[in-house]
């Protein structure tokens, strides 16, 4: 009995979509457009997110140690720093590595390499590059570095320089730009999802308004509310499913076409690379949004004619 009724409900939902072909086409078209915008925003948001992540990764606080500091002291210092919840990553570069890095970077610049050879000592300092969990954590990390007293014999002499204070203004400005960009990207995505929902909701409401007589007759025949409502929810789900699949497929050529321009402008990986690598996640997200919007819109629209 339950199986038969479920089968009938699915059949009725499908038949509604097929027999109402023009209206179904209109809803699926609007749904596709809306989900396309949402999908594009998600991809673009991913590009923005990777760009901001990249920028964020470039921001760090570097502590330079005086040449007399032993590695043991530096490691002790690093371990102590690592215990801070604000610290995401610490990279240690020894004096020798710093020199090698520099040489490698300027391997084609003979003048620079000659200049280095003239010097008796290694001019580079051992350093710790510290990356924070959040952009706002740098201030507290810098304060910690200032007050750190693990070198009880003479705490101030081992740290030669902390570059946070030299770069503070740039770091703060960059942090602010990153945070604002992230906030606005998310806001725009949410806004687009909301607008899409409103458009689709109103179209589905219109369709169900056109079916109000049918709903009334079904009720007078003695059909249960769920039997009247569920086929409409199934139809709404089908609109969402088809719309999301078509929207995802439409994103293929569009992301491919726009990818070089986005790459040139923002750097990092292009739209198309994200489309390919996140295809299954993207289609899953769009299906969930599409089906949910279709089903919820249908539920809210039928409620008006059933729950009285």
């Amino acid at each position: 009995m339950m199986y038969t009724q479920t089968k009938r409900i699915f059949y009725l939902g499908l038949v509604n979509v097929i027999r109402n072909s023009f209206v179904s086409f209109s809803v699926i078209f609007v749904m596709t457009m809306s989900l396309f915008i949402v999908g594009f925003s998600l991809l673009f948001g991913q590009v923005m997110s990777s760009v901001t992540d990249e920028l964020r990764n470039k921001v760090d606080v570097t502590v330079y140690f005086v040449p007399e500091t032993t590695e043991e002291q530096i490691f002790k210092f690093r371990d102590r720093l690592g215990e801070l919840s604000q610290v995401r990553e610490i990279i240690y570069v020894s004096q020798t590595s710093a020199l090698e890095e520099y040489r490698k970077r300027h391997e084609n610049d003979i003048e620079v390499l000659k200049g280095l050879d003239i010097l008796d000592d290694n001019p580079f300092r051992a350093r710790l590059s510290i990356r924070a969990q959040q952009s706002g954590d740098f201030e507290s990390i810098a304060r910690f570095l200032e007050n750190e007293d693990i070198f009880s014999d003479n705490p101030t002499t081992v740290i030669e320089k902390i570059d946070y204070y030299q770069n503070r203004e740039i770091i703060n400005r960059l942090t602010s730009v990153i945070d604002t960009a992230t906030f606005f990207t998310r806001l725009v995505i949410l806004l687009l999802i909301f607008i899409s929902f409103i458009i689709v909701f109103n179209i589905i409401r219109l369709i169900i308004y056109l079916s109000r007589e049918e709903i009334k007759v079904m009720r007078l025949i003695g059909a249960e509310d769920s039997y009247v409502r569920l086929p409409f929810l199934i139809s709404g789900g089908i609109y969402g499913l088809v719309g999301s699949v078509v929207a995802t497929l439409m994103l293929y050529p569009v992301s491919y076409w726009l990818s070089p321009a986005v790459e040139r402008f923002f750097g990092g990986e292009g739209l198309f690379a994200y489309y390919v690598s996140e295809f299954f996640l993207l289609i899953a997200v769009l299906i969930v949004i599409g089906v949910l919007v279709g089903v919820v819109s249908s539920y809210l629209s039928t409620r008006r004619y059933l729950d009285d």
């Binding site: 009724q5 007759v217 079904m218 009720r219 007078l220 025949i221 003695g222």
Partner: protein, 227 residues
């Protein structure tokens, strides 16, 4: 046994009186015709029976149970035991003739085997077997009304309400519909028919209740009426 009973039923739409102290009973298997001009209260009477409208005063009972105090489940059960035919047919436009009729049974949870045997029988009764896969828009008014009748009787209801079923039909089709209703009544279903068409009342013969301005002006078993 009274299948339907009205006891001083009163209904207002705003300040306008739709029904005033209406009392009558309908017995199992009875055929009653309600006559009256437009606005006399015939449709309101049927809406009250179906539980579509609330009463202002009095009671309307089905098998002794007050319809206005029925739970949602009881109301559904009551509707399932009642067939309804409307003046404007009210067929489901996106369903075929077969589906329109089968839908009533599907909604009530009948299994496929039962549906497959009962729908053709109902279509046979209204002489529409040849139009089984047509859509309502492809049928004439008379044919649409016959589909509506088939839909209303396919689950063999105890009571059939026919609200102006011939109002939109030509005389030939109207008389055909009346014949079908009489035939259904002979099979044991109580029929309540409303009309303002004298020829229909004269053809039915039997108990007639005349409504004037929402009140029962005459209730005559021999078929007398005021119109």
């Amino acid at each position: 046994m009274d299948i339907i009973s009205f006891e001083k039923a009163t209904k207002y739409y705003g300040d306008a009186i739709a029904l005033q102290d209406v009392s009558f009973t309908v017995k199992d298997g009875e055929f009653i015709t309600f006559v009256g001009h437009s606005g006399a209260g015939k449709s309101t009477l049927f809406k009250l029976i179906l539980g579509e409208e609330d009463l202002y005063g009095g009671t309307v009972c089905r098998d002794g149970v007050d319809i206005t105090s029925m739970s949602e489940a009881e109301l559904l059960e009551h509707r399932r035991k009642t067939g309804m035919i409307f003046q404007n047919f009210r067929l489901l436009s996106r369903k075929t003739v077969y589906e329109n009729i089968a839908f009533a049974m599907e909604a009530l949870g009948y299994d496929e085997t039962q549906i497959e045997s009962d729908v053709p029988y109902a279509l046979e009764l209204v002489d529409l077997r040849h139009k089984v896969w047509s859509f309502p828009a492809e049928l004439s008014g008379g044919e649409q009304q016959r589909v509506a009748i088939a839909r209303a009787i396919v689950h063999q209801p105890e009571l059939l309400l026919a609200d102006e079923p011939v109002g939109n039909l030509d005389p030939v089709n109207a008389h055909e519909v009346v014949n079908i209703l009489k035939q259904i009544n002979k099979l044991g279903t109580a029929v309540m028919l409303s009309t303002h068409d004298r020829s229909v009342v004269d053809k039915v013969k039997g108990r007639v209740i005349t409504l004037v301005n929402g009140e029962v002006a005459m209730d005559d078993k021999k078929g007398k009426y005021i119109l």
